[in-house]
């Protein structure tokens, strides 16, 4: 560790520039990681406010606060912002901070590209959010934007939505090229692929998924653009087009996309659980293979989102069986985490609490996924709140909890300060209770027959919607505490040691806390600690 500091001294000693231009011009992976994480948090709060408008309207039957038109804009924007603005940039931010430090690289392989991929995003999201103030309102056709509702019947702002999606896609593709090149080329000499921490592995696979599917999304929105402005009829049945084609293309992008949002989470949890169980990750090899299998399967199951569009029975059966198969590698992962905890010596600091909650609540979401895979049952579940509960269980206490776990786990390394543990635990318990009160009752209203994306509902759904809304406000406002904890930690606090956590393994823990502006300008020699 001393060696690193001394080398840093020799390195012309230049630190970050001063002022605002530091952030605009930066090519430093740590700065860009920070930018991504803050953007993600701002979008998380924005999308969260929209969710609270939705839940406030659904607090009671009847229309109280918003009109159906605006309600549809809220559900659409909430989904788009959370998927593209909150979850994906957060993981890219974590990758920026952590991948070079975990593989002993000085920076990302393509630093200028890294700067571009970030700075596209604020423009993309400003454009997307600005549609709220346009004539005819924001996109109101759901985050899945099925044609022809999103083409012939869309508000004029749809064109801005298409352009925003293009920008996000470009950013994601550049970001993932960068991550792949970094991982394949800049590993410390001697570090083999199977020595990489699981977070690096999951991101490598995620980056390939991104490169594979983002162009498909770009093609899809381009076809929409042509239909809207240039007289084509890709999705217009009246012109010989096919509205179902839209859904096939969308979900061929969309299903890998949902795994893009969960695979890095697997990596985060696979780093945290061994640390606090003080025991190596169980079944490292099988974790890698399971991640790769899930990624592969994600390409061949897309039509399980479309069981009700009238696919022939052979197709329904194939997609049902293929979808059920996903449970196998996912199960392997869950069992491996449990086996890692088994006969360890556990302590329950905030990151561990979030990680354990991730395993439990993600498993609940996974099990309801098995239920949804069964086509005949899906005819009853499809497009109800049961589906809403299912994917929020894998996305909120799944992806988002893992991101929070990651922030608590690595923030001492980033800032050099320990966060306030009791506040962190308070944040955890408020979020944990809030998220379950929010989403668990949605399983019941969904089974009882409440469709999703409706601004008002029949009286028999009233009680559980009220409970759900209360949970939403508890969960939502708890995140202000998270903001407070993060700012407090950046500004000061107990100094963190280099190792930070007693049971932590990995190269990022061999450098000082806070991590110097430049790390591993010469590659590390001792790789024994590379993965836990």
């Amino acid at each position: 560790m001393n060696a690193v500091i001394e080398e840093h001294h020799d390195d012309h000693g230049h630190g970050p520039d001063k002022g605002f231009m530091r952030w605009v011009l930066t090519t430093n992976h740590k700065d860009i990681g920070t930018l991504y994480l803050w953007l993600s948090f701002i979008m998380f709060l924005t999308g969260g406010c929209m969710a609270l408008i939705i839940r406030a309207e659904l607090f009671q039957p009847g229309l109280q606060l918003v009109e159906p038109e605006f309600f549809n804009q809220m559900t659409t924007m909430h989904g788009l912002i959370m998927v593209f603005g909150a979850v994906m940039p957060a993981f890219v931010g974590l990758a920026n901070w952590l991948v070079p430090m975990m593989i002993g690289a000085p920076d990302m392989a393509l630093p200028r590209l890294n700067n571009y991929s970030f700075w596209i995003l604020p423009f993309a999201f400003s454009m997307l959010v600005s549609t709220l103030f346009m004539d005819g309102g924001a996109p109101n056709f759901g985050w899945t934007f099925y044609a022809p509702l999103s083409t012939d019947y869309a508000p004029p702002s749809v064109t801005f939505f298409i352009f925003a999606i293009h920008l996000m896609g470009i950013s994601s593709i550049m970001g993932s090229i960068n991550i792949i090149v970094t991982i394949l080329n800049l590993r410390a000499p001697g570090m083999k692929m199977m020595d990489m921490p699981l977070f690096v592995w999951t991101w490598l696979i995620t980056a390939y998924l991104l490169i594979a599917v983002m162009p498909i999304l770009a093609g899809l929105v381009t076809m929409m653009l042509m239909d809207i402005h240039f007289g084509t009829a890709f999705f217009n049945a009246g012109g010989g087009g096919d509205p179902v084609l839209f859904q096939h293309v969308f979900w061929f992008f969309g299903h890998p996309e949902v795994y893009i949002m969960i695979l890095p989470a697997f990596g985060v949890v696979s780093a945290i659980i061994p640390t606090f169980a003080r025991k190596r990750l169980f079944g490292y090899d099988s974790m890698v293979y399971a991640t790769a299998s899930i990624a592969f399967l994600s390409f061949i199951v897309w039509a399980h989102h479309m069981f009700t569009v009238g696919i022939p029975i052979a197709g329904e059966l194939y997609f049902m069986y293929a979808t059920m198969l996903i449970a196998v590698p996912t199960g392997v992962k869950v069992f491996n985490w449990v086996a890692t905890m088994w006969r360890g010596s556990m302590t329950f600091e905030t990151p561990m609490l979030f990680a354990i909650a991730f395993v439990i609540l993600f498993t609940i979401g996974g099990l309801s996924g098995v239920m949804l895979a069964l086509t005949p049952a899906d005819f009853q579940y499809h497009d109800t709140y049961f589906v809403v509960a299912h994917f929020h269980y894998v996305l909120v206490p799944g992806s988002i909890f893992s991101i929070m776990a990651a922030v608590y786990y690595w923030i001492p390394k980033w800032t050099g300060n320990m966060y306030n543990e009791s506040l962190g635990k308070t944040h955890f318990w408020l979020s944990f209770i809030g998220v379950n009160v929010l989403f668990f009752p949605q399983h019941f209203v969904g089974l009882a027959g409440m469709p999703r994306r409706i601004p008002d509902y029949a009286l028999q759904f009233a009680d559980y919607n009220m409970v759900s809304s209360i949970g939403a406000f508890l969960f939502g406002f708890s995140q202000l505490l998270f903001l407070f904890i993060v700012i407090q930690t950046i500004r000061g606090g107990k100094k963190a040691t280099d190792q930070v956590w007693e049971g932590a393994h990995g190269l990022e823990w061999t450098i000082p806390s806070p991590a110097p502006y430049h790390t591993f300008t010469t590659p590390p020699k001792d790789l024994a600690e590379a993965h836990g």
Partner: protein
């Protein structure tokens, strides 16, 4: 046979766990068993997979909780060093596969019976519109076909909390679909504009209504009753307000109902020829407007610009009646304005045009007769 026994055993266990022991009325929280053979099979499948998932969850979480209690540093646990076991990995790869096969068998069986196509006793075309349904009872003789629109009945006052919400809030329609019990009914599902989904939970029938496609689904209902559902695919502003109501009745009652519908259709056809007075047209027009046009153009005709333009003093309404009629009959491509020539009869179209030209201070004094519209429609 063994499988069937095992399934019913699991279902029995399920009802014990989830129904009898629950304090609250579980029926409001679970999937409906429904009133068809298929819906009961689906319910059984749902209960099996729910129980399997609950048991798996309980085992996994049980082990985790045990581990969290016993293997914590604060009780002096010393970490073991094991970190792999090929046998265990094989075990927990094979076990889920076996469970999945057990689940796949009944799902495949149910799915196959759902897809069994056969001759139906009655064919009904279900056509989705923004935001109502149209039902057409097919008949070899086109003059005998019965066709009507079915839209939500719940008044705005209830939705905006100005009056108390009655039972079946949001789930009531003006003209329910009527079908006989114990007959095989085939639904031919399609759409006139965007994608909708026709869903009646008690039949376990949910099928997307897609413009340009006609999808088939079928049901045989065992018990008379009123069954309610909703549109299940986001279809725009009033997606939450296009319920489905099906009245399943004994066959003789169905035959009576059908005969009455046919007679009414004939009468409506005959009244097209007569000359209507302004008052008759205005009265009828207000009715039609409130059922058909109000969702977009609003009760006061002001619309919600720019998506739904105002009708008050607008150039179209104050201009030549021919263009106005053309708009109502043929709609406007690329907007939410539909071609109502396909949905309304000539009397309704004439009445609503007359109403729009004379309501909300548009006092043009213009009127148009159903016979004019009829000539125009049949001329096309």
């Amino acid at each position: 046979m063994d499988k069937v026994k095992r399934n019913s055993w699991l279902v029995a266990l399920g009802s014990l766990l989830f129904s009898n022991l629950a304090l609250a009325d579980w029926s409001g929280l679970n999937m409906r068993e429904g009133v068809t053979q298929i819906s009961r099979e689906v319910y059984e499948l749902h209960m099996i997979v729910l129980i399997v998932c609950t048991v798996i969850g309980a085992i996994v979480f049980g082990i985790m909780i045990y581990s969290m209690l016993m293997h914590r540093k604060s009780v002096g646990a010393v970490p073991s060093t094991f970190h792999e076991s090929t046998n265990l990995e094989i075990l927990w790869t094979i076990m889920p596969i076996i469970i999945l096969i057990v689940l796949a068998v009944p799902s495949t069986r149910t799915l196959r019976s759902m897809y069994e196509s056969g001759d139906a006793d009655i064919d009904i075309v279900v056509r989705g519109f923004q935001w109502k349904w149209q039902y057409t009872y097919l008949d070899d003789d086109p003059l005998q076909e019965v066709q009507f629109m079915s839209a939500m009945l719940t008044p705005e006052d209830e939705i905006y909390n100005r009056t108390d919400k009655r039972e079946n809030y949001l789930l009531d329609v003006d003209n329910p679909l009527v079908i006989p019990i114990n007959k095989r009914i085939r639904f031919l599902i399609t759409s006139n504009d965007v994608i909708h989904a026709w869903w009646v939970p008690d039949f376990a029938v949910k099928k997307d209504a897609i413009p340009g496609f006609v999808h088939e689904s079928w049901t045989v209902v065992d018990e008379p009753g009123i069954y309610r559902g909703q549109c299940a695919e986001l279809c725009g502003k009033d997606h939450g307000f296009m319920p489905i109501v099906v009245r399943a009745v004994e066959e003789p009652e169905y035959e009576l109902w059908l005969a009455k519908q046919r007679q009414e259709a004939r009468e409506a056809y005959e009244t097209v020829g007569k000359t209507w007075t302004m008052d008759e047209l205005m009265e009828r027009g207000e009715q039609v407007y409130n059922q058909t046009c109000m969702a977009c153009h609003q009760v006061n005709g002001q619309g919600i610009p720019p998506a739904f333009p105002s009708l008050v003093g607008s150039p179209l309404i104050t201009g030549p009646i021919g263009e106005h009629t053309d708009m109502v009959v043929n709609g406007k491509a690329g907007t939410a304005m539909q071609a109502f020539g396909a949905q309304l009869n000539p009397a309704q179209i004439a009445a609503v045009i007359t109403y729009e030209r004379n309501a909300w201070g548009n006092n043009s004094g213009d009127m148009i007769q159903p016979s004019t519209i009829n000539d125009m429609l049949s001329g096309q």
